[in-house]
Symmetry: C2
Subunit: 335 residues, 2 copies
Amino acid sequence: MTQTSIREVAARAGVSVGTVSNVLNRPARVSAKMRVRVQTAIDELGFVRNETARQLRVGRSRTLGLILPDTIDPFYADVARGVEETSAEAGLAVIVCSSGQAAEREERALELLERQQVGGLLITPVAAGPERVAMLRRSGMGVVLVDRRPRRPDECSVRVDYLAGGELAVRHLLEQGHRRIAYVTAPLDAEPNRDRHRGALRALRAAGLSEDVVTTIVEPRQTPSFGARAATRLLSLEPRPTAVFCSSDLLAIGLLNRLLRSRVKVPHDIAIVGSDDIELAACAALPLTTVAQPRAALGQAAAELALSEADDTGAHQHRHLVLPPELVIRETSEV
Amino acid sequence: MTQTSIREVAARAGVSVGTVSNVLNRPARVSAKMRVRVQTAIDELGFVRNETARQLRVGRSRTLGLILPDTIDPFYADVARGVEETSAEAGLAVIVCSSGQAAEREERALELLERQQVGGLLITPVAAGPERVAMLRRSGMGVVLVDRRPRRPDECSVRVDYLAGGELAVRHLLEQGHRRIAYVTAPLDAEPNRDRHRGALRALRAAGLSEDVVTTIVEPRQTPSFGARAATRLLSLEPRPTAVFCSSDLLAIGLLNRLLRSRVKVPHDIAIVGSDDIELAACAALPLTTVAQPRAALGQAAAELALSEADDTGAHQHRHLVLPPELVIRETSEV
DNA sequence: ACATGATCGTGAATCGATTCAAGCTACGCT
DNA sequence: AGCGTAGCTTGAATCGATTCACGATCATGT
């Protein structure tokens, strides 16, 4: 209720409000004497700057909006953590929203963030088209696409080279001699899953093999339960694949556990490669071979881009970052 | 840049700004004719209310602050999701901060939220004492302790009855005939871990057994890797326990996997009970018996309490919610 | 026809920080 | 001493929505 204002600080220090504001925002403009006098008053009163008023005046808020499909998936949780930590260091607040893959929830989140006048928006869009995003940018916020490729040259973006990821995984399996490979994935309308598939095909081409080598099994979501379901579907395939590449570690772990329970020998009967390298991968029932994604770096880079786009007084060059994945070979893929 | 303001809407509709504001906030106060006229103008201009200005005027923001120790742990991720979904329905923004168990980061987050003038604060405190919290409340924000018991009667709180949880788990193990039980936990300075321990002892007393039955193994954090480490410590114990109760499923799963790799028969040689019932528990290498926590409900209830505390114009009665856990018996505990 | 209310709409004041043109000092130089 | 200037400080205007005392309008009853 009783928020001490800059005015009270000014009174206490015997200076004008303008000077207090200068101490806060451009200390160089103020003489050393004033600076300590004001600082003392601030400390004595326990003054905390009202960010709301500042935002109203400068028209842009020291806040980032983050819209992710899902915050339970450890992949996105890590991205969020990267964003949050980078922002916290810069003293920025992060408003986190999850769209749950639903267009309507996504739109609601966008409106919320628009009302809140966030300075930057980090989004993994599910339905929001480039026009919608451009609208937001026009209203003053920097926009960065996260984990999706840009749809227009003026959209900033940070993503992982999933194409390379898919290629890495499948090449590795081919090198182990596998010639019947299943690709277990969440729906292919999500770009990363499509890219991994294309990467897989590229690996086949490079090896001079037919596309038939890879069979795609689509599950609705990337959870261990659906991984388990994929395992039973896999086992009913004729002829049965000898290797599986999963679009997420959570899928891979669910699948691995179900296979083990069905007395399938991993990796002897069926080899597995996951994606993401979540912490659990290393200490799964069998340490999981996986394509590591630099996901904290993804969040961090996204936050930095948004910050630069917001800070810049005009001349901001849009950038597209593509981070490389890395194959981590453990025990589910090498006999 | 070009934010349409209420003033432009007023001009377009040929009414005063006061009327537009009334349409937005107390439609009942305005005649039907005005209401549609204003609404039309709003739609035509694509007006989005500037929440910042509103906040400045009313002194309280339509925003909740959430400070959790960690957003990677699926337990807290689910709590956060509960908070976020409940808030989104009410049109509130949620600023998420993680303290990473560090006093300094927690304090930084508190100051951030104070500057942002959030209307409510949901916090699982690591170092912030009741006085600090009372300070914040005095400055106008509703405060709800999450997953911690209140330290003063005027703090709202929502938590799980971990005492009952510990008791449930250990009673179950005792009923299975176990007489040497290990409690694998993150440090006991976290209240839930201490409570589970006390619950375990209560189960022993109820069965007329000595406290020696339970040996406590403390690991620094609740991750599968530390679960694996706990497994090796467990195996070196003499005499070796025949059952383990873990303070988190992540610990339990790491432990389970390591035991299986060491050719220990679970549950025959060692039984395991986890805590939380994360999704992975059901499809672990062996479906995990665990004490389910109503964690989304926790987040939901916390958000609702904070909302009510913020909404209320004075008369708000502080409430303490205690949610019951539930034992989910799967395959790691029954032969 | 007039008084009495009730119902609506108006617009100026307000929230707190920022900004910038203008004013003030003090110092150096001639 | 006089003048110019660099360096500080000041305070009023401003951002956009809300609020509330006041004024306008209209219906009803006598």
